[in-house]
């Protein structure tokens, strides 16, 4: 269930999630580091402050729905679910390995994963369906979906954005991980998205910006959705790909990383230096 926005506690959760992502990316398969690190504060805010969640009973009928449309951020999601108590954090050690349920893109076998994602552009149509279902049920359930910014180049996103806006699904909340990078470079050099806020606005959405690594600000921004009754909400989270690992942050090569032992130690040391001052980490 929701907790009060305690920025120190939230920062501690985010810090531990970040450490676990780094550890997973030092495992046998490596992983999608950059896009996992960029959504840590968004996921922390959602799971520890904003959403109604029931880690002991992931299918609880009163839960809010969450979809990680940018499914390659799975390590970030798994680390968050483990931190929230959906499953033991030790399970993260088996990520991507034979016999594990932790696939590199989210699967329903993992407690807390509503629907599988991975191929981009699926989350918003699914989320619009969940939101429409809640409206038809007169349910107070809300649906949250996190998309990558590069993902917004998929046409299906805008099919759903257009209709969700015109349907006025104000129980639907999208968060865009606006780290500015996609696999091979800058979004603005590959297929520009700006002016992004205006684009969403013209599709009938209420739009806000936030410093996406300020977990308290993210939580605060999402605390009072819908911002405009009758409009779905989209939060543009201004983030940095690979945030927390100085030698990779802001670089496209952080997209998929398999740390060497030495790099792992470097990344861990960097995270220790960033530890919040409450004794966590």
């Amino acid at each position: 269930m929701n907790e009060l926005v305690d920025s120190t506690a939230l920062a501690g959760h985010a810090h531990r999630i970040r450490q676990r992502i780094v550890d997973v990316c030092a495992g046998a398969e490596g992983g999608h580091l950059g896009g996992s690190m960029s959504v840590v504060e968004v996921l922390t805010a959602l799971y520890f402050s904003v959403m109604k969640v029931y880690p002991d009973r992931p299918d609880h009928p009163d839960r809010d729905v969450f979809l990680l449309s940018k499914g390659h951020g799975a390590i970030g999601l798994y680390a968050t679910l483990a931190e929230r108590g959906y499953f033991p954090a030790a399970e993260l050690d088996g990520f991507g390995q034979t016999g594990s349920r932790l696939m590199a893109h989210p699967v329903r076998a993992v407690p807390g994963v509503e629907l599988p994602t991975g191929s981009l552009g699926h989350g918003l149509p699914l989320a619009a369906g969940f939101a429409l279902a809640s409206r038809l049920r007169r349910s107070s359930r809300r649906t949250f979906v996190v998309m990558g910014d590069g993902e917004l180049q998929e046409g299906s996103v805008w099919e759903a954005a257009m209709r969700a806006g015109s349907l006025g699904l104000d129980n639907l909340v999208a968060i865009v991980d606006r780290n500015g990078l996609q696999l091979s470079g800058l979004t603005e050099e590959i297929s520009p998205l700006e002016p992004l806020n205006e684009r969403w606005c013209t599709f009938g959405w209420a739009v806000r910006d936030v410093a996406g690594h300020d977990v308290a600000e993210v939580a605060k921004a999402l605390a009072d959705v819908p911002w405009t009754p009758g409009r779905p909400s989209v939060l543009i989270a201004r983030t940095t790909k690979g945030e927390g690992v100085p030698f990779l942050a802001g670089q496209a090569r952080s997209h998929y990383v398999k740390f060497s032992e030495k790099q792992h130690a470097r990344a861990r040391a960097a995270l220790r230096r960033q530890a919040p001052g409450d004794g966590h980490g």
Binding site: P125, L126, A128, L132, E159
Partner: protein, 336 residues
């Protein structure tokens, strides 16, 4: 093939009317449209909020349907077969089939039904595509009454369901044919010499017509309506094929991946019968023509089916006739 002389509802209209009758009483049912026009002017009455036209966006259609289904609803989604099976395929595969969600994909303009609208709107691959997907049930009702029955039964199908319909009206099947049960092949006519396996209105009528033509020549054909391509009724098929030396499949579909493949696959190893597949060859239709003309062009009519069977049974033509031959290369009489 002649157009029906009296006004008979098209299968898609029969589906619509059945769904309209079911909607008010079953709050799980939702109807999602994509500007098909099928529901224009319809009064949904107490179920009005459960009809949503999402506009021309088939990927979003399938995704929204999956979200609704994951929330406990049973969405009926409406689009053309071509768009359901190719444009929106990834959403069908990942959002619906992968999650085994009870979405009912109600696809019109299947096969050559789009006629003069051309290959952009024809769907000669949809059955192959849909039956390739795990969890998917694939049904091709043969007439309006069968369509109504399938729509009624669909509520109890546990996972996703693909229903292929046509565009214009087609006649009811001849004789007193009981309602089909999803997953159970229907033996429409018995005969000891040849088994004709077919699905869809025109192939079933063509099989019936061919059986009548050949009966006059002393060849007894059994006709099996394989309305459910997946799961295939392998027991019913094996039983109908028992003792036959020739099995002919008839479908309004490219010969790859559809009924012919399903039947050949099922019979391999369990029956010694020779299988000949009649369908549309590996080509896009370039002819401007109506549905009936295109069916005639590809030999999907009674004369075409009868011709294939005659050739197959004629010792002088064997083994020269192969499954890659096609009546188009051997002129067949056009249907009257």
């Amino acid at each position: 093939m002649a157009e029906p002389a009296v006004k008979i509802p098209a299968a898609r209209e029969a589906y619509r009317d059945e769904l309209l009758a079911m909607l008010p009483d079953d709050p799980r049912l939702v109807c999602l449209d994509t500007d098909t026009g099928l529901f224009a002017g319809v009064d949904f009455a107490s179920a009005a909020e459960r009809y949503v036209d999402v506009g021309i966006g088939e990927q979003n259609l399938m995704g929204m349907a999956a979200g609704l289904a994951a929330s406990g609803f049973i969405p009926f989604v409406n689009t053309m077969a071509a768009f359901a099976s190719t444009r929106a395929l990834e959403a069908v595969k990942i959002d619906i089939a992968y999650n085994n969600l009870p979405v009912r994909i109600m696809a019109t303009h299947g096969g050559l039904a789009a006629g003069h609208l051309g290959p952009t709107h024809q769907a000669l691959e949809d059955l192959a595509v849909m039956r390739a997907l795990p969890n998917m049930t694939v049904v091709v009702p043969a007439d309006p009454a069968a369509t109504r029955s399938v729509v009624r039964q669909s509520v109890d199908v546990p996972g996703p369901l693909y229903v292929r319909m046509g565009r214009k009206a087609t006649p009811p099947l001849p004789g007193a044919v009981p309602a089909p049960r999803i997953g159970e092949a229907q033996l429409l006519r018995d005969g000891q010499d040849v088994l004709v396996v077919c699905c869809g209105p025109h192939p079933v009528l063509a099989a019936h017509g061919a059986a009548a033509l050949l009966d006059a020549e002393g060849v007894r054909c059994a006709v099996l309506n394989m309305h459910t391509l997946k799961p295939l009724d392998t027991t019913g098929l094996a039983s109908a094929a028992a003792g036959k030396t020739l099995v002919v499949t008839v479908e309004e579909h490219w010969r790859s991946g559809g009924l012919g493949d399903a039947v050949s696959d099922a019979l391999s190893g369990v029956a010694s019968a020779r299988v000949i597949r009649l369908g549309v060859p590996d080509t896009f239709s370039t002819t401007v023509g109506g549905h009936a003309e295109l069916l005639d062009e590809f030999g999907i009519n009674a004369a075409g089916v009868a011709s294939v069977i005659r050739r197959a049974l004629d010792p002088s033509t064997r083994p020269g006739w192969t499954t890659s031959d096609h009546p188009r290369a051997h002129p067949v009489p056009r249907a009257q």
